[in-house]
């Protein structure tokens, strides 16, 4: 048989074997006693090991929240660090149960690799320039030298944006983020472009962080979210409602501290969220109080945000579009009822 056909057949077999696994992930996870969570190899604020070797970050908090929802124990997680290249294979091959690795939700990825269960961070590509360049908008960047990473969508986005606005530019591309920062800091280019969360993280590494500004333009949509394997809607629901629970809890004012008191609240919405009323949790195979457990262990979305990427952290990211819809942001979780 032709080797390509052999591979194709094997992939097809593997895929069909994956189908047979449908609707079993939650049971499998429960029986092994932990969630196997795919994270990055180190992305500041999203998933990185701290001084003690514990994984922390916004994506890590989501994994911990899932563990809290299932086991009422946020530490029942094992992390598989994945490079950008192997992340989807790890998910489809069953090596991990959920992939929370700052992955942009796109149509092709949703159809090819797995089911996105929501958005836990709205990112977008932005520009940073030195203040003394005197530029206040990206439309003034005609003829600029742009520093960026090679082989990522950021490079393509820049090309699209500059062409659409009829601007000339030169790309200075590097393999690693540290090299890009060093080049930008040394003045080898006028503009540094990457996702805005990345700009915030890298800005602290500049010799004079205050001499640089992030321009207001956002030239791409990068909704980052966790994803699970195709074909297991129960497991997808567990993930989706864990995330929704964290957002709804913030909206309802339920925090890590007051969650115990809130359980006795008279507000029917809060009672439903915390499982004091109804049997929403058991419908997706969880404890009715799963959301109370999540908030008690990890906090609501806002608490997780502030702890990992918020203004008081080294990343100093304002909530911006990641605020609740009631505060003018994009976070709008379906109600738990």
């Amino acid at each position: 048989m032709h080797p390509v056909k052999t591979i194709a057949l094997s992939v097809a077999l593997a895929a069909s074997a994956g189908m047979a696994q449908a609707d079993e992930t939650l049971d499998a996870v429960k029986s092994k006693g932990f969630v196997q969570c795919g994270v990055s190899q180190g992305l500041p604020g999203f998933s990185n090991p701290d001084d003690q070797g514990n994984w922390t970050g916004l994506d890590v908090d989501f994994c911990r929240a899932m563990a809290a929802a299932i086991f009422n124990d946020a530490d029942a997680v094992k992390y598989t660090p994945l490079s950008a290249k192997v992340r989807f294979t790890a998910l489809t091959s069953g090596e991990i149960d959920v992939l929370a690795r700052n992955t942009t939700w796109t149509m092709s990825r949703d159809s090819d690799f797995g089911e996105f269960i929501g958005v836990n961070y709205y990112d977008g590509q932005g520009f940073m320039v030195p203040t003394n360049l005197g530029v206040s908008s990206a439309t003034e960047l005609d003829g600029a030298a742009v520093c960026t990473n090679t082989g990522t969508t950021t490079e393509l986005n820049v090309a699209d944006y500059f062409r659409a606005n009829g601007l000339n530019y030169t790309v200075v591309a590097f393999e690693k983020a540290d090299e890009v920062v060093a080049a930008y800091d040394a003045g080898r280019c006028d503009v540094y472009t990457t996702d805005r969360s990345g700009l915030a993280a890298q800005r602290t590494k500049l010799s004079k962080p205050d001499d640089h500004v992030v321009l207001p333009e956002i030239i791409s949509k990068e909704p980052l979210g966790p994803l699970v394997r195709h074909g297991d809607s129960q497991w997808a629901d567990v993930g989706r409602w864990t995330l929704n629970c964290m957002i709804n809890a913030e909206e309802a004012g339920i925090t890590m501290e007051n969650v115990a008191d809130m359980a006795t609240s008279a507000d029917p919405n809060i009672k439903r969220i915390l499982g004091a009323d109804g049997d929403l949790g058991s419908k997706i195979g969880l404890d009715n109080a799963f959301c109370a457990n999540v908030v008690a262990a990890v906090g609501n979305y806002g608490e997780s945000y502030d702890r990992n990427v918020g203004p008081d952290t080294a990343l100093k990211l304002d909530r911006g579009v990641n605020a609740l819809w009631t505060d003018g942001g994009l976070l709008y979780a379906a109600p738990q009822r």
Partner: protein
């Protein structure tokens, strides 16, 4: 020796040898050494001056960054105040992570014990005055790997909790991959080299195909195949330990290189050695073990150690399949937003470079020593 210069007025009489005069400046001392080694001819003089200029150009900045202007104490804050020197507190605050990776904290004593035994074992093998070195060799080559596996992975029956290989990391993981590669590749390489030179066509063909296949693909591709392609061939739910996949890949890869190194040694043995062995009536196994291989391996010690050093450094490639060897752990640590300081990535990489240099240079020195010890006239 007595010198009697003035006792006899008729002349100078020496009743012994004159003391040696110091050699002229032209053939001895620093100046002569420099002239012989650095300035013998216009081309070498130019090169020496350029090299010296390069050293003078680079060294002060390097020393200042690494040592004199570096931050040695304090935490991230100290480094943030002075980002123009290395940030060693970053390394000291995380050295445990760099050594153990994400290995369970309460179980790290197991690694400590293994490292101590490894150090003792190596010392035992290296220091010649010590008795029972054959015993030590057998212990370290055959017993220790098995023992190390049970210690690292754990065994419920032995009362050691299981620690998944995904939690292994840091320098421990580098050692695990490098040592298993080294221990597996030498015997495999010898077998493959013998197989390739065999007169039996099937064995020769299989060995050649194996060697040329593994030598023909890059290690990165091997690791990617092991990590990405391989799981797709297995039924879903069946997983095969990722570290094991990588270790097997590295071992097979380096055994192909080792085979060619050993084959070079085999080909350097004069035919008379084979004929002499056969004339003594030695069967093939004994001929190889007693006559050919000891000579062949001795010739190719530099090549073997070269392959070992290459293998040791190649272990950092497992980074791309998300195994956290020393380099991987350092890179992940750099991402910590609390240490997001300009000097931190450079410090991390400098630390990795120093660790690797020390390990590789030790191997190189030991190989030189063995060569000198076994020097029986072949060395030129």
């Amino acid at each position: 020796m007595a010198i009697n210069d003035n006792a006899n007025p008729q002349g100078v009489v020496h009743d012994g040898n004159l003391p040696d005069k110091p050699a002229p400046m032209a053939t001895e001392g620093a100046v002569a050494w420099m002239r012989d080694n650095l300035f013998n001819g216009p081309f070498n003089s130019i090169l020496s001056v350029l090299a010296l200029a390069l050293v003078l150009y680079v060294l002060p900045g390097m020393l200042s960054w690494l040592i004199f202007n570096a931050n040695w104490t304090g935490g991230a804050e100290a480094c943030r105040v002075n980002p123009d020197g290395a940030c060693w507190p970053f390394v000291s605050s995380r050295w445990e992570q760099f050594l153990y990776g994400f290995y369970e904290k309460s179980e790290r004593w197991r690694i400590d014990i293994l490292l101590i035994i490894l150090a003792i074992g190596i010392a035992w093998l290296v220091i010649e005055r010590l008795p029972g070195r054959t015993f030590a060799a057998i212990l370290m080559l055959f017993v220790y790997p098995v023992f190390a596996f049970f210690m690292l992975y754990g065994n419920e029956k032995m009362g050691l909790p299981i620690v998944e290989t995904s939690q292994w990391g840091g320098f421990t993981l580098t050692l695990v991959i490098a040592l298993s590669g080294i221990v597996a590749s030498l015997p495999l390489g010898v077998l493959l080299a013998l197989g390739r030179r065999s007169k039996m066509p099937i064995i020769s063909l299989l060995s050649t195909v194996f060697i040329e296949f593994w030598r023909g693909i890059p290690l990165v591709a091997v690791l990617f195949m092991a990590t990405i392609m391989f799981p797709l061939f297995l039924p879903a739910g069946v997983t095969f330990d990722q570290l094991l996949r990588a270790v097997i890949g590295v071992a097979l890869f380096s055994s192909a290189y080792m085979a060619e190194v050993v084959r070079g040694g085999l080909q350097a043995i004069p035919k008379g050695q084979y004929e002499g062995a056969m004339a003594l009536g030695l069967p093939f196994g004994k001929m190889m073990r007693l006559i050919i291989l000891p000579q062949a391996l001795k010739i190719v010690i530099p090549g073997i150690v070269n392959t070992f050093i290459g293998l040791f450094k190649d272990t950092t490639l497992v980074l791309i399949i998300a195994l956290f060897d020393l380099l991987g752990v350092v890179q992940a640590s750099i991402a910590d937003p609390n240490w997001s300081i300009r000097s931190v990535p450079y410090t991390g990489y400098a630390f990795v470079a120093i660790v690797f240099w020390v390990c590789c240079y030790s191997m190189a020195r030991y190989s030189r020593y063995i060569e000198d010890k076994l020097h029986t006239g072949h060395k030129r």
